[in-house]
C-alpha cells in the first residue's frame, strides 16, 4: 500500500472515531446541535420583528437571515468540541500511543480535523433542513445550498485547526473548554446574528473587521439572495487565512507536545 493510501486510511479511521466519540457523549454533541437550534428558535421568535427596521437587508424571513449565523455557531462549537475531545485523548494517553505508532504525526491532527469537518457538514445540513422545514427558501437554489455547505465544512476544518493547536499546546481539556465563552464573544462581535449596519457600537466596528463576518456573509448570500462572487471570495480568503493560522499553530504545538511528552 502506498504511503498516501495508508495515511488516508489513518485519517479516515481517526476521523470516524472522533465523529463516533462526539455522538456518544451528550456534552460534546449538545453544544453543536442543541444549543444553536434552541438559540435559533428563540432569536427568530424574539427578534424576528427586526426585519422591519430601516436598513435591514431584504429577506424572506428572519429565519432565512439567521440560518447562516446558526450554522456558524454550530461550526465554531464543533471546532471547540473537537479541541476538547483531542485534549481528553492527550490527558488519557491515547495520543501518546498514536505518537508511538508507525504513522505520520500530522495524520493524527488531520484525523481529528476530518472529524470536525464532518461535524461541520452535519451542522450545515441540519440547519438547512430546519430552514426548509420551517419555510425558509434558499434563493441560490441547489448550487447556493451546496456553496453554503462547502463553506461551513471548510470553516469547521479551519476553526478545528485552532482548537487542535490549543489542545496540543495545553494538553488540558478544561483549558480548551474555557474557550467556549470566547467562541460566543467572537460570534456576537460578527454579523452572524444581525446586519452589521444595525449593530450598536463598538460591536459594529469590530464586526466590520472580524473574519467571521466575511465567512458568515459568504454563507448567507446564497441563502438570502443568490451566489455572489465578491462575498464568496471574501469568505474563501477568510477561511484560508484561518486554515493557515491553524496549520502554523498546530505544527508548533505538535513540536512542543513531542518535546515535552
Amino acid at each position: 500500500m502506498s504511503d498516501l493510501a495508508s495515511t488516508a486510511r489513518v485519517v479516515r479511521a481517526l476521523g470516524a472515531r472522533s465523529i463516533r466519540q462526539t455522538f456518544r457523549r451528550p456534552q460534546l454533541i449538545s453544544p453543536i446541535i442543541v444549543f444553536p437550534t434552541l438559540l435559533l428558535a428563540i432569536q427568530t421568535g424574539g427578534a424576528g420583528a427586526g426585519v422591519e427596521l430601516p436598513g435591514f437587508p431584504p429577506v424572506q424571513s428572519f429565519l432565512q437571515f439567521m440560518l447562516a449565523g446558526s450554522m456558524m455557531q454550530a461550526m465554531m462549537l464543533a471546532g471547540n468540541s473537537g479541541g476538547i475531545a483531542f485534549a481528553v485523548d492527550i490527558e488519557m494517553g491515547f495520543t501518546d500511543r498514536l505518537f508511538a505508532a508507525p504513522i505520520p504525526r500530522f495524520a493524527i491532527v488531520l484525523g481529528r480535523l476530518a472529524g470536525t469537518a464532518a461535524l461541520g457538514l452535519f451542522a450545515a445540513l441540519w440547519f438547512l433542513a430546519i430552514g426548509l422545514i420551517f419555510g425558509a427558501e434558499i434563493e441560490g437554489g441547489v448550487p447556493g445550498a451546496l456553496l453554503a455547505i462547502a463553506l461551513i465544512t471548510a470553516s469547521a476544518l479551519a476553526v478545528g485547526g485552532i482548537g487542535a493547536a490549543i489542545a496540543l499546546r495545553s494538553g488540558s481539556a478544561s483549558v480548551v473548554q474555557g474557550l467556549f465563552p470566547l467562541v460566543l464573544v467572537v460570534l456576537f462581535l460578527s454579523s452572524a446574528f444581525f446586519p452589521q449596519e444595525l449593530m450598536i457600537e463598538p460591536a459594529r466596528t469590530i464586526a466590520e473587521y472580524n473574519p467571521l463576518s466575511f465567512i458568515v456573509e459568504g454563507v448567507r448570500e446564497p441563502i438570502i439572495s443568490g451566489i455572489d462572487a465578491t462575498h464568496t471570495l471574501e469568505a474563501v480568503a477568510a477561511i484560508a487565512g484561518i486554515i493557515i493560522l491553524g496549520l502554523v499553530l498546530s505544527a508548533r504545538a505538535l513540536q512542543h507536545r513531542l518535546r515535552v511528552g
Binding site: 444549543f35 474555557g178 460566543l184 444581525f194 460591536a203
Partner: protein, 263 residues
C-alpha cells in the same frame, strides 16, 4: 444508663443546611476560577445581545429606548439559571465521587440535604447577578429604584432555586455529569422562551403563544418592571406566584428523586 441530651431536630437540620451552604461558599473562596464561567456566560450574553439587538428599541411598541435596561434582568435571571444548573452538575459530580453516598447514610433528612444544595445555589446566584448589573449600570441602564432592585434580586434568588431543583432532579436521575447539557438547556429554554428579547406584542406568533403560557414570563416581567417603568404590586405578584408554583413542583420532583436514590 443516663440519657444523653440531643439537640432539637430543627436545630440539627438548620446546622446541616448551613454546613452545606458553607461548603459551596468554601468552593468559591478556594477555587474562584470555578465561578468564572457562571459569571462570564450571562455577561457575554448581556453585552452580545445589547450590541447585536440594541436597534430593536427603534421598533414601535418597545416600552423603553434603552435596550440595556430591557435586557439586564434577563441576563441576571440567565446567570441564576446557569448557577442553579451548575448546582445540579456539582451534585452529579459529588455522586460520581461518592460524596452523596456519605450524605445519604447520615441521619439528615433528605429534604434537608436538598434544601442545603438549593439555598447554596440561591446565595451563589447573587455573584453573577451583581456583576452583570454593575456592567449594565456602567453602560447606562436605568436605576430601577430600591424596590425594583429588591424584587429583581428576589426573582434571581428564586430562579436559581428552581434551576437547582431542576438540576438536582436530573443529577439524581442520571447520576452522571453527562446530564449537564440537559440541565443547562432546560433552564436556558425556560428563561428565553419569554419576552426576553422584545415585548410580548413584538414576538413572532408562535413564541408569543409559548411565552404567554410560560410561567417564567411573569418572573421576567416582574424582574424587569423597575428597569423599564415603575414598580407595582400587580406587576409583582404574578411573578411571585409563578415562582412559588415552580418551586413547589420542581422541589417535590427533586425530593422524590432524592428519596429514590439508594446508597
Amino acid at each position: 444508663m443516663e440519657a444523653t441530651a440531643t439537640a432539637p431536630a430543627w436545630r440539627a437540620n438548620l446546622a446541616t443546611i448551613l454546613a452545606l451552604m458553607a461548603r459551596t461558599r468554601n468552593e468559591i473562596i478556594r477555587v474562584p476560577g470555578a465561578a468564572i464561567p457562571g459569571v462570564l456566560a450571562p455577561t457575554i450574553f448581556f453585552l452580545g445581545l445589547n450590541g447585536v439587538f440594541g436597534a430593536l428599541t427603534q421598533l414601535s411598541g418597545f416600552e423603553t429606548g434603552s435596550y440595556e435596561s430591557f435586557i439586564v434582568p434577563v441576563s441576571m435571571l440567565q446567570g441564576a439559571g446557569f448557577t442553579g444548573a451548575a448546582a445540579g452538575v456539582n451534585l452529579a459530580r459529588d455522586y460520581e465521587r461518592g460524596w452523596v453516598d456519605r450524605l445519604l447514610v447520615s441521619p439528615a433528612p433528605r429534604w434537608v440535604l436538598l434544601t442545603g444544595n438549593v439555598l447554596a445555589a440561591s446565595a451563589r446566584a447573587f455573584v453573577p447577578a451583581t456583576f452583570v448589573l454593575a456592567i449594565a449600570f456602567a453602560l447606562g441602564a436605568q436605576w430601577p429604584g430600591i424596590d425594583g432592585l429588591v424584587i429583581c434580586f428576589a426573582m434571581v434568588a428564586a430562579t436559581a432555586a428552581i434551576a437547582a431543583c431542576w438540576g438536582s432532579m436530573l443529577a439524581l436521575r442520571f447520576k452522571s455529569q453527562s446530564a449537564a447539557p440537559l440541565m443547562q438547556a432546560g433552564m436556558m429554554g425556560l428563561i428565553l422562551l419569554t419576552p426576553a428579547y422584545a415585548p410580548l406584542a413584538l414576538l413572532q406568533p408562535w413564541l408569543e403563544k409559548v411565552a404567554s403560557v410560560n410561567p417564567l414570563t411573569e418572573v421576567v416581567e416582574a424582574a424587569r418592571q423597575g428597569f423599564v417603568g415603575s414598580v407595582t404590586w400587580s406587576g409583582t405578584w404574578p411573578g411571585l406566584l409563578a415562582l412559588a408554583g415552580l418551586l413547589l413542583v420542581l422541589g417535590a420532583l427533586a425530593l422524590r428523586e432524592m428519596r429514590r436514590t439508594n446508597v
